[in-house]
């Protein structure tokens, strides 16, 4: 992904264009798997050395499933290493960009000798392959926070299959009691921050679509026992772990 600009009012000897390129253009959010970095390259044409380059990232609002979160915010800015420098004899300046922990869309902006790029390049931070848990007769979607996180049911296919199979199995034994599925992951994965929507708090997991919460509060013990077993059954939920989060047997966190 690249853009060309022509800085204005230059002495004829200094007239050049420069290109900003990032590769890859999609990275994983930090703490959500490997591949968190991309290489940012600024290239002058023709080669001009000694020009000062400064890099900046700008997060775009309402991306990655985070709605109405405050921006700009230092907590969502990734890091450039280095964030500024000068072009070399080949007219090139390179930096490594590391994404922060949130999924979403960023602009990578560069200035050269103070002149900004007019068309910044776009970087996507996301966990690939997440799909939304669709509607089902035997489970319900709960836990959405209007205006903050409205799509909290994205997971891997393994996770979603396990959730659907568990709910179906449970319904065959206890019809008419949909299983309430709460947070899985946000659409682009990454840190699932708290309900305040200010880029802090929230889940320390639920980043890669492999966890789901369910809170069978008020259920009878036999129903809880059945559901708990179905999550772990090889032919039903096929989960790898079941966490009784608060020790009260009411807040379950299932891991695939």
């Amino acid at each position: 992904m690249s853009r060309d600009i022509t800085p204005g009012d230059q002495h004829p000897a200094d007239v050049f264009t420069f290109t900003v390129n990032i590769s890859p253009s999609t990275v994983a959010p930090m703490n959500a798997g490997s591949g968190n970095t991309t290489t940012v390259t600024v290239q002058t044409n023709p080669f001009v050395s000694g020009k000062t380059v400064t890099l900046q990232d700008v997060r775009l609002a309402n991306t990655g499933g985070h709605l109405n979160h405050p921006l700009p915010n230092s907590n969502v800015s990734g890091t450039f290493s280095p964030s500024s420098g000068t072009t070399d004899s080949q007219g090139k300046f390179q930096s490594t960009y590391t994404a922060k922990e949130f999924g979403g869309e960023y602009q990578i902006r560069a200035t050269i000798e103070g002149t900004p790029v007019t068309g910044p390049v776009t970087l996507i931070a996301l966990v690939a392959g997440l799909q939304m848990l669709g509607a089902g007769a035997n489970y319900s979607h709960v836990g959405t926070i209007p205006g903050i996180h409205e799509q909290n049911w994205f997971g891997t296919s393994t996770t979603l299959n396990g959730l659907v199979a568990t709910a179906d199995a449970f319904a065959s034994q206890y019809p008419g009691t949909p299983v309430p599925y709460n947070d899985i992951s946000l659409p682009w994965g990454g840190k699932f921050d708290g309900n305040a929507g200010n880029w802090t708090g929230g889940h320390d997991q639920h980043r890669v679509g492999r966890n789901a919460d369910t809170n069978p509060c008020g259920w009878s013990q036999d129903r809880k026992d059945a559901l708990w077993t179905f999550f772990g059954n090889r032919d039903v939920g096929n989960a790898s772990g079941r966490l009784d989060e608060c020790g009260t047997n009411n807040c379950w966190h299932i891991t695939w």
Binding site: M30, N31, N75, S172, Q173, D204, N233, D235, E245, C246
Partner: protein, 308 residues
């Protein structure tokens, strides 16, 4: 004649269905649980000037022995938190199986799932991969329970697992003990996959989710002890006699490797005679070899019903 032979053999097997040689325990992947991947500190709040306050959980693992691990990290309150994780593959399991041809034409499959004394855990579950869409668990005679959904569900797919777990309130299937369970199906036996795990998959929470890199260390179900047994396979029902014979011949090396055939010369005898089409001789020899513990009940079942 053939039916009479089969019935006689089945009756004999029904008294002592699981004799035979030393079966190979379910195999483990021996996945090492080491230290988690690095975890970058994250902002968990802001100071009065609006600057982020960073949280560095410093996740790490302390092996406790016997397949137990302490997953530790610094919580948001600054205190060290610990989740106790028990790896579910800390069981040594041997599965023995037999098949009995019932008068109505169905096959009754019986399994003994032995939790060896060397195990660190009670048996937590056992699963067989079905290659038949027509199979039911016989829960009344099983010391492990099948989930009721399995009994109700009519349209499960070929290749799906059927899983069993200890009945609530019963004595745990601890090291040195064994469980029995049974299936019935109109489809004849073939070699199928099976898996087992130990303990309970439940992890007791500490009121805060661990850093995700610790969760990455959980062993997935495909890492549970894995092996082979016999089970219904609808493909066999559709095979010609020649193809069945070829199936049996091709799988003899696997039966040797699984400990279902005592040694290579014995396997070679079966191979030579199957390839020569001497099916009557093979079935006759199978009964004798079973009594001499040169082959297991699994081989007897396969020989008996694939050569019918």
């Amino acid at each position: 004649m053939l039916t009479a032979f089969t019935l006689a053999l089945c009756c004999a097997l029904s008294w002592q269905p699981l004799q035979g040689g030393e079966r190979l325990p379910l195999q483990k992947k021996n996945i090492k649980i080491g230290q988690p991947a690095p975890y970058a500190p994250e902002a968990e709040g802001y100071d009065k000037k609006g600057n982020p306050i960073y949280w560095d959980p410093k996740p790490h693992v302390v092996p406790l022995g016997d397949g137990k691990y302490a997953f530790k990290w610094t919580g948001h309150n600054g205190r060290e938190l610990t989740l106790l994780y028990q790896r579910p593959d800390a069981v040594d399991v041997v599965v023995a199986a037999s098949a009995l041809h019932l008068p109505g034409g169905s096959f009754r499959y019986e399994y003994q799932v032995r939790n060896l004394k060397s195990s660190e855990l009670d048996l937590g579950g056992f699963a067989v991969r079905l290659l038949s869409r027509r199979a039911d668990a016989l829960s009344d005679t099983s010391t492990m329970a099948v989930n009721p959904w399995r009994l109700l569900k009519q349209d499960f797919q070929e290749g799906a697992w059927i899983s069993f777990h200890p009945r609530r309130g019963q004595t745990p299937i601890g090291p040195g003990r064994e469980a029995s369970l049974a299936l019935v199906s109109p489809d004849p036996p073939a070699i199928v996959e099976c898996q087992a795990y130990g303990g309970d998959l439940t992890i007791k929470g500490v009121g805060e989710e661990s850093p995700t890199v610790l969760e990455d260390l959980y062993l997935r179900p495909d890492a549970w002890p894995h092996g082979y047994t016999i089970g219904p396979d609808e493909r066999i029902s559709k095979m010609s006699a020649k193809t069945r014979l070829e199936y049996l011949t091709e799988h003899l090396p696997q039966m040797l490797q699984l400990g279902w055939i005592e040694d290579k010369p014995t396997m070679q005898w079966y191979k030579d005679n199957l390839q020569a089409g001497k099916t009557v001789e093979v079935r006759t020899r199978a009964q004798k070899d079973f009594e001499r513990k040169l082959i297991t009940s699994e081989v007897v079942a396969l020989v008996s019903y694939l050569l019918q």
